[in-house]
Amino acid sequence: MRAMVFASRNAKEMTRDPLNLFFGLAFPLALLVLFSAINSAIPPEANNPMFEPAKMAPGVAMFGTTFMALYSGMLLAKDRTSSFLSRLFTSPMRSSDFILGYTLPAVAFAATQAVGTFAVAAFLGLPISLKTLLAVVSLMPIALMFIGIGLLCGSAMNDKAVSGVCGALLCNVAGWLSGVWIPIDLIGGAFRSVCRALPFYHAAETARLAISGEFLGMIPHMLVVIAYSAVAYVAAVLVFRSRMHSDKA
């Protein structure tokens, strides 16, 4: 129950921040509308499907989950530096209550954001079916990875450093190396190798294959994402627990 009480508090902190709402909900939708406008401007004879809703919406939805690192990291860092966490460390809350309390609202936020992105994509021409729901679910492991990275940074850095690392740096790296904005196969070489070694491209591919109904093709990409998510999340839990039992909370 304590985890749910804390999760409820964190959900309110996240959703009552106007910047969170803008970057979490409005920004991905604005991107989607922008790409739709670009798609409309491309003549059919160009035969370029890159900006079609079925291609673009999964990538934009994946990109939206990067902001979960920023939200969870900023919230934890602010709680640490304001002594709010010190107050709660003396309460009967256990480390699992804290971890769940920070994670659950961010997962709910990520799911809401993905649903919103696909709903707007539907208005722009994306067919909606059970595959869309699968795409939303397929994005949750990468969301969990970003939450883990956020908690890791929030445990170790102040809120200004978290905004730099999880905001400017991570969002850009995840965006550019996911193949959402630029086709990595066209560039090829080392860039493609780096993209394929990291989870962002695989997360976007998982959602795209879910939308197109290529379920078997999803599995290898999904496994890469789950492996990265497990490492990031376990590291976050270990660092948070060590902070909780040290004098550096």
């Binding site: 129950m1 304590r2 009480v5 804390f6 409820s8 508090r9 309110k12 902190e13 009552r16 921040d17 602010k78 304001s82 002594s83 709010f84 010190s86 107050r87 709660l88 460390f89 003396t90 309460s91 009967p92 809350m93 909780m244 039992h245 040290s246 004098d247 909370a249």
Partner: protein
């Protein structure tokens, strides 16, 4: 309390060991840290309810406890206001109300009046004085007049070592000083 692990030994609060029975200790204490540690985007009411529920109170009990704290600390006018929008003095009051909502047996107040103006400080002193006889309060401060106004027993610490304990009269008699500030300087200066 798990803010700092002891390097050796243990401490006992109402016979419960902080190393062997931390959960039992946590249930009987509460703290108000030096910084006003409140949830900034939650209202005064929501902050109080959250703390009550973290300490195990159900919805009905937490609402009753929050109501009692609102009345005791005069927070009725700012009930629905986000805590980040409160003045420094009101945030301190809320912080102490959040510490008291679990009805702790021992309350730790870390420099509760730091940065407050004279009026806000006097109001907070009155609130703390009203708690005497119901809750054991351990209050840390650098303000000697605060110690004189609020304390039954005083401990003088310097560089992590407890140099002397006693009532105000005992410390004055021990040092031959005429006021607490002189007694403090005599004790700390002598140890330096």
């Amino acid at each position: 309390m798990h803010l700092i692990e002891p390097t050796s030994g243990s401490a006992f609060l109402l016979e419960a060991s902080v190393t062997e029975e931390p959960q039992k200790v946590k249930q009987i204490i509460n703290i108000s840290p030096q910084e006003t540690a409140v949830a900034p985007n939650l209202s005064v009411w929501e902050n109080l309810i959250m703390m009550a529920r973290i300490y195990g109170q159900d919805r009905k009990a937490s609402a009753l406890s929050a109501d009692a704290m609102i009345k005791r600390f005069g927070l009725g006018d700012v009930l629905k206001k986000k805590s980040k929008a409160l003045s420094g003095g009101m945030q301190r009051r809320l912080s102490i109300a959040m510490a008291l909502i679990s009805d702790p047996k021992i309350l730790f107040l870390d420099e509760p009046t730091l940065g407050l103006d004279v009026l806000a400080r006097r109001e907070l002193w009155a609130a703390i004085t009203a708690l005497k006889g119901k809750t054991t309060i351990v209050l840390t401060t650098h303000y000697m007049e605060e110690v004189e106004a609020l304390s039954d027993r005083i401990g003088i610490m310097n560089r992590g070592k407890l140099l002397a304990t006693g009532t105000l009269e005992e410390l004055l008699a021990q040092t031959g000083a005429s006021n607490l500030e002189d007694a403090f300087v005599a004790l700390v200066g002598g140890a330096a």
